[in-house]
Symmetry: C2
Subunit: 245 residues, 2 copies
């Protein structure tokens, strides 16, 4: 069965967290919005699902995933659904809720990273809210990144199954998402992240371990991996970056 | 088995979404932070769990739930976990992912409602970010509430099992959370929400139906339901409210 992944074309965004899981598992999937209109794909096809007046449970926004008749929306929910099918969830059922809790905490950081460049309104241009963005980004670098990263580092340290994984003793989608979060922050805030590895050695090691996984390395080197850019979640605006305190 | 619910004392906040499910099901639960220090409860006991250096998978923030040895964190995750146990989840398994997707979309609105009074930094006082709050609240009222509520109204309308529930044909925790979201917005933005029922009749009917459920009505009349106040998510600052366009 081919999964159909729906996400905006041209940016990594929240879709990337799902892509990394599909790619690590070498799952069969189609990127609907990046496909050809002639094949019934493309952005219009994606918006058609969102705007459908007949779909039983339409999604609010991308990313969403179609698996047969079922549409699953919201990044963490898609991963919770896919995890066991892709062999990227903890085997122990109770740990799946631990994984989902961690994934949702990663999602909170992602939202806050987005809001560094759009603190006032997602519908306004960055240029219209630059001054507010500077205040929010400074707070994010000085307070929020350290608070979240100290926590995630402690999760690794206290994992009874060892500090190589966020939950349990095997690779899960949470590890892949943690990689993407750290990677995106490095792109957006290189000055703030300069000494990341010194402060959070376990997280840095996890990031590097994911980077070296053959399927991930192959994906990152492929044309399927879009570059970071200033339309996504993680945007590099030098004026918002600063040294960490 | 008694569930232990951990959430800040003195405010409804995100804990309220969990409370409503526990109360509707008349589940046996203890509010840890609202308990007595002499009984090993209270806010310090809650923070002790968060700061624990021995807990296998510590939570980042309240609300979290302890069920035996397992700690489940993040509001939507707690409800996903509790739903089937409290008979408040869809019976059909695939619909549980639909419910979780809707719950996470509700959670997104909750975060945006919070950010109307804290657009620049959650660690700064509202008074320090009043001007930015006004811009963000205006955008929330003019664009975000309508966008989300049009969507949720459409979910009710297109629910193949009827427009009385968000998912499936029985009451789920998603209905209870939808009630709380609408109720909180009425408290925070009475002017903006004045004609809510005219624009979103199915959502208004759902809100009123939940309000009349005997266990919910008993809970809301009890001392266990805290009043809305200006330390929670939904805050009434008249200067942020305005008529809907």
């Amino acid at each position: 069965m081919t999964y159909q992944l729906y996400y905006w074309d041209g940016l990594q965004g929240r879709g990337e967290f799902v892509r990394l899981a599909l790619e690590e598992a070498r799952a069969d999937y189609v990127e609907v919005a990046r496909g050809d209109e002639q094949d019934g794909l493309g952005t219009a096809a994606m918006i058609g699902v969102m705007d459908s007046r007949t779909e039983p449970y339409p999604p609010f926004a991308p990313p969403f995933l179609r698996d047969g008749d079922l549409i699953v929306s919201q990044t963490a929910n898609i991963l919770f659904y896919l995890g066991p099918k892709l062999n990227l969830a903890p085997q122990v059922e109770s740990l799946r809720y631990v994984g989902n809790g961690l994934q949702l905490t990663i999602a909170d950081v992602v939202t806050e990273a987005h809001d560094t460049h759009h603190p006032l309104a997602s519908g306004m241009y960055y240029e219209e809210q630059k001054e507010a963005a500077k205040i929010r980004a400074t707070d994010f670098i000085d307070h929020r990144i350290p608070k979240f990263m100290r926590y995630f580092e402690r999760v690794l340290k206290q994992n009874p199954a060892g500090d190589g994984h966020m939950v349990g003793d095997t690779l899960t989608y949470v590890d892949l998402s943690m990689f993407q979060l750290i990677d995106g922050l490095h792109y957006a805030f290189p000055r703030a992240m300069k000494h990341f590895g010194q402060h959070y050695p376990r997280l840095a090691a996890l990031h590097d371990a994911v980077l070296k996984r053959p399927n991930i390395a192959a994906y990152l080197a492929s044309g399927r991996r879009l570059s970071y850019n200033e339309t996504g979640i993680f945007r590099h605006y030098p004026e918002l970056d600063k040294d960490a305190r």
